[in-house]
Subunit: 384 residues, 2 copies
Amino acid sequence: MEYDIRAGIAALPHSPIALIAEYGRDRAGLIPLWFGEGDVPTPDVIAEAGIRAIRDGEVFYTHQRGLPRLREALSDYLGRVHGVPVGVERITVTSSGMTAIMKVMQTLIDPGDEVAVVSPIWPNVTASVKVMGGVPRAVPMRLGNHGWDLDLDALFDACGPRTRAIFVNSPGNPTGWMMELDDMRRVMEFARSRGLWVISDEVYARLVYDRPAAPSFVEVAEPDDKLIIVNSFSKNWAMTGWRLGWIVAPPALGPVLENLVQYSTSGTPAFVQHAGIAALEHGEPFLVEMVDRCRQARDAVCAALERLPNVHSTCPPAAFYAFFRVDGERDSMALAQRIIDEAAVGLAPGTAFGEGGEGYLRLCFASRLDRVEEAMARIAGVLG
Amino acid sequence: MEYDIRAGIAALPHSPIALIAEYGRDRAGLIPLWFGEGDVPTPDVIAEAGIRAIRDGEVFYTHQRGLPRLREALSDYLGRVHGVPVGVERITVTSSGMTAIMKVMQTLIDPGDEVAVVSPIWPNVTASVKVMGGVPRAVPMRLGNHGWDLDLDALFDACGPRTRAIFVNSPGNPTGWMMELDDMRRVMEFARSRGLWVISDEVYARLVYDRPAAPSFVEVAEPDDKLIIVNSFSKNWAMTGWRLGWIVAPPALGPVLENLVQYSTSGTPAFVQHAGIAALEHGEPFLVEMVDRCRQARDAVCAALERLPNVHSTCPPAAFYAFFRVDGERDSMALAQRIIDEAAVGLAPGTAFGEGGEGYLRLCFASRLDRVEEAMARIAGVLG
């Protein structure tokens, strides 16, 4: 960079997912499974609520922490899903889960501050730490015989004098790993004992195949605990393009987050928030269908991967990704390019997901079953 | 704050504009002129383009720097308005002018870095510097006999060894002050000679009463100059609630800004961008009408203020604010409260706008003429 911009910003990695999409975008007949989104548009009941709000003139500046009705609907939703009350005063609406994470980093991270991050993890988390001059410390999980495994002692050992927070994304992107409630309790207790914050990204909390919802840190914490949960409408309700998310934080942080919304996005479009209200009030049938579709696709992908003797993976209990490695293949970007060239399937290279990710490929199976099956047949032709 | 959050974040001021709105929100019969927005909804030709895009399924992740068609439309628009070519490679779409400013600060400002800011100015600019740990250095203008006056030597003297950038908002909020092209040239030359960045907020460039468009720094700079312009669809096309803006920056900064979009908002809804395309392609008649309405309201406000002998102001050549002080009134928040209590008119206290602002009140006249006239009659009853 010939300009004198901040060193950390100049060094920010270009997302390898964006790079592989650039590489494969024009490949004829490509089945793109590289991004974390499905192939169905937002359900009508949600989209039409947004449209109605535009026509009703909801096009002016609005509440910085979100429409009161949306915050109440979120409070109801979280209480219903996790079985514990989550008061409106803890909730701040944001313009996506990503925006939520950036606001959390702006609140907590001074230059040199460290964040212990359970890895592999989607690249934007560590990048947002770096934007604030912070230092992510990856704690890689291992793929064992019973799925992805986090060594809690390794996580705690990674917390030193400069550590400000522990970042957990469960269910996890890209691994589909899920932290159980007992471990959440241990993490919360450790964080309390050391005065650390816990940042919990629970975006995939409803995309779970063995129970109605994943465990949430909200179930093992008091409202005043140093816990911040970030979440999003994107994955549950096919709303990736709407940019709508939320934060659950201690009530005392409300005015701080309100300021940060004011001073970074100045609020989320009210009509987008009305779509969010519709998602919470009428979106459950779509979500049930979505999980059902994803389960079928997951089962097809897992069965196909199991038939490949040189492929190692685990059938994920949650989220909508298969994350697998291939014997002898160490360069995931090169392998992802080969699969585009030879099979016309777009996968994300594991190198995108930080420590523990290289050598793996991520496949998003939130697509029509026949497309996923066709993709697996093509991949088998290359790897089999 | 009982929590250990970043010192600069805990100390961020709550916007006095939000505070006065909180104070007066429930006052019966209130005419609210405290925010920087008009009272007409987004024109149909724009809103319906957004609606059409939702129904066309433009609800997925999208280009991080903006839809190519929107960036091209912005390039055309800027060339048309300012008479100089502005290539697509210089343009990045953002989720509002505010988001644009935050991205610029993330790019440039390390803790302790200074930004010289022409003041009075809307509060979010200095706040965004502080979010990054930077230090805004206000350079207050004076209200003289010929309007607001910036002493360029004072601006240059405020630039020391830690200064990274000069921030200019012309036409200015709250003053309506406009920097002429000769002065822009001098600022740009000074910045070049000292290796500083110029950040130019040109959100009000089209709300001008004595010519079709305000001077722009784009007219006095080369594409590679250290100049970053931030702008927004909000004021021109009654789109405050859509959260859509853009950045003009040196082409080499494109990939950096793309990363920062990815790692802070992950893009602007595609359907919002389609509304933006419609604004640029079909919004000119609305803008002409808007300026015409604002001019009439401005003239009414200026005439009313002139009739008050204890009021000092200047009739602004641009933007949509009257900014005036009253003899003997030093506490603008107290005066704004009194005007709510006694006149049921909502104004923004000058203390919101940093150095040089205290003692003043800001009135947004982008409202129906009869409402503005009624507001002025009521204010005259209190101040006259």
